[in-house]
C-alpha cells in the first residue's frame, strides 16, 4: 500500500473502498516507528490510532454517516490541546500537562472523523525557527538529516514531508508554519488572522498568531481550511467566512492578476539559489497570464525588530501563568520567598523562552515602553497601512518564504541575531494579519526552497487559487528517505 498520497487522495481511496483506514493507519504507525527514532518529529503517539481506524471502517461498512476525513491520519503540533492528551509545548514546564479539553480545531476534526496519530515537535512554546529550542531535542530535516527542519512547527513539516501523516496542524506567529514548510518542501499556509479559531492553541503572541495546515498539496490545504475555518464563540477574534468552500474553483488560474514583488524581501543577504528560484517562479506566473512588478514596503526594514518587541511583550504576559502554582513540578517551597520561588519555578524554561521573557519584562515597562513597545506598535500600524495600499494596486504579493537555505543543526543556535533575520520575509503577514502561503518550489543541493504568496485579508480563496496555479508548474523529486 502506498502511504505517499495526498489527504484528498486518501479520502477518495477510503471512500471508494480502495483502501481501508485501518490498513493505512497501521502502515503509517509502522512507518513512524521505523523512521521517527532518527527524525524525531513526534513527542507522543496515539496508541489507539489503529483501533480508531477500525471504528471508521466499521462505520463505512455499515453505511453510517461518516465525516469528510474518513480516518485521515493527522499530526498535531504539541501546543494545540487534545483532551486527555499531553500537551507539552516542547517545554519541561508543561512536561506533565494533560489538556482537559479539546481545541476548537480538534473538535472540528474529530467531528469529521480525523485520526490524530500523535503530537509533534516544536521550538519550546513555539519560540524559534529550527526546533533546536525544543526541550526534548531537535527534529531532523528528512531531506538531509544534518539540517534543521525549520520551525517552530518543525515536527509538523517533518511528519508531512516524511509521510508520517497526510497532513498536520501547526501554528504561525512569525512564520512558524511557512518556514518549516519551506525547509521541508511541504505546503504551509497561514490564513487571515481570525479565520481559524485559536481556542486551545497555547498562546505565545496571541494578537498575531494563527493555526495553519501543513500539507502535501495546495488542494489539501484548502481542504483542511474547509474543515476548520469559521466563527467560533470560544474565540472572540474569529471572523465569519460564510462557510466558504475553498476547494471550489481552486483551479481558476491567475490570468490577469497583478502580483507585486516585494523589493525588501529579495535584497541584501539573499541566497543566490533562492533568488533564482524566486525569479523563475515570477516568470512562471507571468507565463500563466499574471503581471508582476516590483513594489517597495519600506517599513519592512523595521518589521523584525517590531515583531520581536511585540511577541516578547505578549509572551511575557501569556507565559506568566507558569508560576508552578497550578501546574508544573514538585519542589519543597521551604525557605523560598517570592522572588527566589519564582526564579526556581521558572528554571524549567529553556534559554530562548527565558531570553524572550526577560525582553518581555523590559520593552513594555514604564519608562521603556515609549522607546520600544509603543514604537513597535507604530511600525505595525504603518506597515499595515503600507501593505493595504499595496493591495489597492496588486492582487497578490510574492517573495521567497525564507531568504536562505536550511542550515545545519547547531550552526546558528548560538547566533540569535542571525536566527532573527530568517524571519524577515514571514513576519509581515503576521504583523498585518494577512494570509500567506509557502509552496515547495525548488531543490538546491538537496535542500528545499519555498516561494511565498501573500494576499489581502479574507482573500484566502484567491491566495489558494494562485498557489494552486504555481504549484502546477513545479515537479519536484521525492524526499530521499
Amino acid at each position: 500500500m502506498n502511504i505517499k498520497i495526498s489527504a484528498l487522495q486518501f479520502t477518495r481511496d477510503v471512500k471508494s473502498g480502495n483502501i481501508s483506514a485501518e490498513d493505512f493507519i497501521a502502515k503509517t504507525m509502522e512507518h513512524i516507528k521505523k523512521l521517527d527514532g532518527n527524525l524525531h518529529a513526534f513527542l507522543s503517539l496515539n496508541e489507539k490510532a489503529v483501533d480508531q481506524a477500525k471504528e471508521i471502517d466499521k462505520k463505512i461498512k455499515s453505511g453510517e454517516k461518516i465525516g469528510q476525513c474518513f480516518g485521515m491520519p493527522i499530526s498535531i503540533k504539541d501546543n494545540i490541546c487534545i483532551k486527555d492528551t499531553k500537551t507539552t509545548c516542547a517545554s519541561k514546564m508543561l512536561e506533565n500537562f494533560i489538556a482537559p479539553y479539546d481545541a476548537t480545531v480538534i473538535t472540528k476534526l474529530k467531528q469529521q472523523d480525523a485520526i490524530f496519530v500523535g503530537k509533534v515537535n516544536l521550538d519550546e512554546f513555539a519560540m524559534g525557527f529550527s526546533t533546536e529550542f525544543s526541550a526534548y531535542g531537535p527534529s531532523k530535516n528528512p531531506w538531509n538529516m544534518d539540517y534543521v527542519p525549520g520551525g517552530s512547527s518543525g515536527g509538523s513539516a517533518v511528519s508531512v514531508s516524511a509521510f508520517e501523516c497526510v497532513a498536520s496542524l501547526g501554528s504561525d506567529t512569525g512564520g512558524s508554519v511557512r518556514n518549516p514548510a519551506s525547509f521541508c518542501s511541504t505546503v504551509g499556509y497561514k490564513p487571515t488572522y481570525g479565520l481559524i479559531s485559536r481556542y486551545g492553541l497555547i498562546s505565545y503572541a496571541n494578537s498575531i498568531e494563527q493555526i495553519g495546515p501543513l500539507t502535501r498539496t495546495v488542494e489539501d490545504a484548502a481542504f483542511m481550511l474547509n474543515l476548520i475555518a469559521g466563527l467560533d464563540p470560544n474565540d472572540n477574534t474569529t471572523v465569519d467566512n460564510n462557510n466558504e468552500d475553498y476547494l471550489k474553483d481552486i483551479n481558476s488560474g491567475i490570468e490577469g492578476k497583478k502580483i507585486g514583488i516585494i523589493k525588501e524581501m529579495i535584497g541584501e543577504g539573499i541566497n543566490s539559489s533562492v533568488l533564482s528560484a524566486t525569479k523563475d517562479a515570477i516568470s512562471k506566473l507571468e507565463g500563466l497570464g499574471a503581471s508582476c512588478e516590483e513594489i517597495s514596503l519600506d517599513m519592512i526594514k523595521y518589521s523584525v525588530a517590531a515583531y520581536y518587541i511585540i511577541t516578547a511583550t505578549e509572551a511575557g504576559s501569556n507565559l506568566a501563568r507558569y508560576d508552578n502554582l497550578r501546574y508544573g513540578y514538585d519542589f519543597s517551597v521551604e525557605g523560598y520567598e517570592f522572588n527566589s520561588y519564582i526564579e526556581k519555578a521558572r528554571k524549567k524554561f529553556g534559554p530562548e523562552v527565558t531570553r524572550r521573557m526577560i525582553l518581555g519584562g523590559f520593552v513594555p515597562s514604564a519608562g521603556h515602553a515609549g522607546k520600544y513597545f509603543l514604537k513597535a506598535l507604530k511600525v505595525k500600524s504603518k506597515l499595515t497601512r503600507q501593505i493595504n495600499d499595496a493591495f489597492k494596486k496588486f492582487d497578490l504579493l510574492i517573495s521567497p518564504t525564507v531568504p536562505i537555505l536550511p542550515f545545519k543543526i547547531g550552526e546558528k543556535i548560538n547566533d540569535p541575531v542571525a536566527l532573527f533575520l530568517i524571519d524577515i520575509n514571514t513576519v509581515t503577514a503576521n504583523l498585518t494579519g494577512k494570509p500567506a502561503i509557502s509552496i515547495p518550489y525548488a531543490i538546491s543541493n538537496g535542500l528545499p526552497i519555498g516561494i511565498q504568496l501573500i494576499a489581502n485579508s479574507m482573500n484566502d480563496k484567491l491566495l489558494l487559487q494562485a498557489a494552486y496555479a504555481l504549484e502546477k508548474t513545479v515537479k519536484l523529486p521525492e524526499v530521499p528517505l
Binding site: 501546543n79 486551545g200 498562546s203 494578537s207 474565540d235 504576559s317 508560576d323 519564582i342 513594555p364
Partner: protein
C-alpha cells in the same frame, strides 16, 4: 484642606455568568474550586469569551453616573503576580491611551455637593485567598478560584470628599443607585468594596487598602486623617505610601510591599476585539434603564402627596419601592407607603429576613383595604403583617385565626368602656375638666381589647358617657 478620593469595586451580581466564561457569577453557594472551568482558571490555550451583558450593565452604570461613554471600548492586561490571579494578569480597562473604558468623567450629586467621577471600568475579579493556621509557623494560604472572573465594575472618584461623613453619604447613595439599576446587590457579602486615598493640606497622598466594609471605610478614613494630622503637628513628614486597614486593631498600617512601585506593563488584550457601543445601543440601554431614585421620589411626592421623608425612604430602597410599585393604586398609595415605611421596615431589615419574607404586594393591598374600610385597626394591621411575613397566609385567614377583627359593636364596646370608667374614677374626673386627657382612657380601652377597638367609635362613646 483634607482631600479624600475613592476607588469602589462593585460586582455585577445580577448577571448569570462570569465575565469571560459560562461559570456562575454567583459563586457564593459553591464548594471551593467547583465553580471553575479552563477559561476562568486560565488553563493553557483557553481564551476569554466576553459576556456582552456585562458590558451593557457596566455601560448603564456609567450612564447613571453621568459619565461620558466612548464609541468603542477596549480591554487591557494588567500584569502582576498574585496567587489569586490564575493568569497572572488581570483583564481590565484603562483610559491612558484614549478613553476606552466603559465610562469617562462623570458626576454624582451628594445632596448639594458634586462628586466628580474619574472613570468607570469593567474588569474581572480575582479568586479568594483564605489564610488558615494559628501561628506564623503553620500558616497556610488556601486559594478558592470560584470568584475568579466574576464581573467587577470599578468606579474611581476625584479627591472631592472633605470628611468621612461625605464618604459615607456618597457610598450610601451609590449603593442605592446600583441596587436600583438592578445590576448589583450591595448587601451581598463582598459585593461592594472600596479603597480610599487620603491627604491633608499640603501633604502626600496615602492609599488605604483592604477595607472590608463601608462601615470600616469611614473609620479607616477617620483614623488616617487623625494620624496624618498628628504627624503634621509634630512636624513629621507624611510619606506617600499604601497602608492596609487592620480590621482587628482598627488602625492603618504601612504595607511592606511597595505596591506603588509595581509596573503593570499594561497593553491591549488582543483576545478581545474592540467593542463598538454606538448611539443606537446607548439609546436602547437608556430606554431600558429603570427610573432613577430621585425621579421616583419626586413622583411619590407630587402624584400621591406622600411626605418627602417617607418618599425618600421608599424610593432609595429597591426592595421597598418594588413592593410599593406593585401594590399601590392612586387611592391607597399613601396608606401603602405608610405601612411599608412604618410597620414593615423593622420586619425585613436584613437581606436574610428579606429573602425569607413571604409577603406579596397583594397582602399590602388587603391590609390597606381593611384599614380603610375599618375592618382592622392600624395596630392590628401591624400584628397581621408580622404573621404574613412569617407565613404568607391571606389576611382574612390571619384576622380570624388571631381574632384581630375590630371591636366595633356598640353594645360590646359599651360594656368595656363602662368597666374602664369604673376602674379609673380619677382619670374620668380629669377628663371632664381637661378633655385632652381623654386619650388616656382610650388607651385603657385599647389595652382591654388588645388594640382592636374601633378608635373613632371608642372616643365617641367615651365622650358621651363621661359628659
Amino acid at each position: 484642606m483634607t482631600k479624600i478620593g475613592l476607588e469602589i469595586h462593585s460586582q455585577l451580581t445580577k448577571l448569570e455568568s462570569k465575565l469571560f466564561c459560562s461559570c456562575k457569577a454567583n459563586y457564593r453557594e459553591f464548594e471551593p474550586n467547583t465553580n471553575i472551568c479552563p477559561i476562568c482558571m486560565g488553563l493553557p490555550g483557553s481564551l476569554p469569551r466576553l459576556n456582552q451583558k456585562a458590558v451593557e450593565k457596566a455601560t448603564i452604570i456609567a450612564m447613571a453616573l453621568n459619565c461620558s461613554t466612548p464609541e468603542k471600548i477596549a480591554f487591557f492586561r494588567k500584569n502582576y503576580f498574585y496567587p489569586d490571579l490564575p493568569k497572572n494578569f488581570q483583564i481590565t480597562q484603562l483610559n491612558i491611551y484614549g478613553d476606552t473604558s466603559v465610562g469617562g468623567t462623570g458626576i454624582l450629586m451628594v445632596g448639594e455637593k458634586k462628586i466628580r467621577i474619574t472613570r468607570v471600568q469593567l474588569e474581572e475579579d480575582p479568586g479568594r485567598l483564605i489564610y488558615e493556621g494559628s501561628s506564623e509557623k503553620n500558616l497556610v494560604t488556601l486559594v478558592d478560584y470560584n470568584r475568579a472572573g466574576t464581573p467587577l465594575v470599578e468606579i474611581v472618584t476625584e479627591p472631592d470628599f472633605e470628611n468621612p461623613r461625605e464618604v459615607r453619604e456618597f457610598l450610601n447613595i451609590l449603593s442605592d443607585l446600583l441596587e436600583n439599576l438592578g445590576v448589583s446587590d450591595p448587601s451581598l457579602e463582598g459585593a461592594m468594596r472600596a479603597d480610599a486615598n487620603v491627604s491633608i493640606e499640603g501633604g502626600n497622598k496615602v492609599e488605604i487598602k483592604n477595607i472590608g466594609s463601608f462601615h470600616d471605610l469611614e473609620k479607616a478614613v477617620h483614623f488616617e486623617i487623625t494620624r496624618q494630622q498628628s504627624l503634621r503637628s509634630r512636624d513629621i513628614p507624611i510619606i506617600q505610601e499604601t497602608r492596609h486597614w487592620d480590621d482587628k486593631r482598627k488602625i492603618t498600617i504601612s504595607s511592606r510591599s511597595k505596591e506603588e512601585d509595581l509596573d503593570y506593563r499594561y497593553f491591549l488584550e488582543g483576545d478581545i476585539p474592540w467593542i463598538k457601543i454606538g448611539n443606537q445601543v446607548k439609546e436602547k440601554l437608556k430606554s431600558e434603564m429603570p427610573e432613577s431614585i430621585s425621579s421616583k421620589k419626586q413622583r411619590y411626592i407630587s402624584k400621591y402627596g406622600i411626605p418627602a421623608q417617607v418618599a425618600d425612604v421608599l424610593s432609595s430602597d429597591k426592595f421597598y419601592s418594588d413592593l410599593f410599585e406593585d401594590a399601590h393604586t392612586k387611592e391607597n398609595a399613601k396608606e401603602i407607603a405608610n405601612i411599608i415605611t412604618t410597620d414593615l421596615m423593622g420586619l425585613v431589615d436584613t437581606r436574610e429576613k428579606r429573602a425569607a419574607s413571604k409577603l406579596k404586594p397583594s397582602h399590602l393591598q388587603e391590609i390597606s383595604d381593611s384599614i380603610q374600610s375599618g375592618k382592622i385597626t392600624r395596630n392590628s394591621a401591624k400584628n397581621a403583617l408580622y404573621e404574613i411575613v412569617k407565613t404568607g397566609k391571606k389576611l382574612s385567614d390571619i384576622i380570624s385565626e388571631l381574632d384581630l377583627g375590630n371591636v366595633s359593636d356598640e353594645s360590646e364596646l359599651s360594656v368595656i368602656i363602662e368597666s374602664v370608667i369604673f376602674e379609673e374614677p380619677q382619670a374620668v374626673e380629669q377628663a371632664k375638666s381637661n378633655p385632652q386627657t381623654i386619650n388616656y382612657l382610650v388607651g385603657k380601652v385599647m389595652q382591654k381589647t388588645k388594640g382592636k377597638a374601633d378608635p373613632k367609635l371608642t372616643l365617641d362613646l367615651l365622650k358621651k358617657k363621661i359628659r
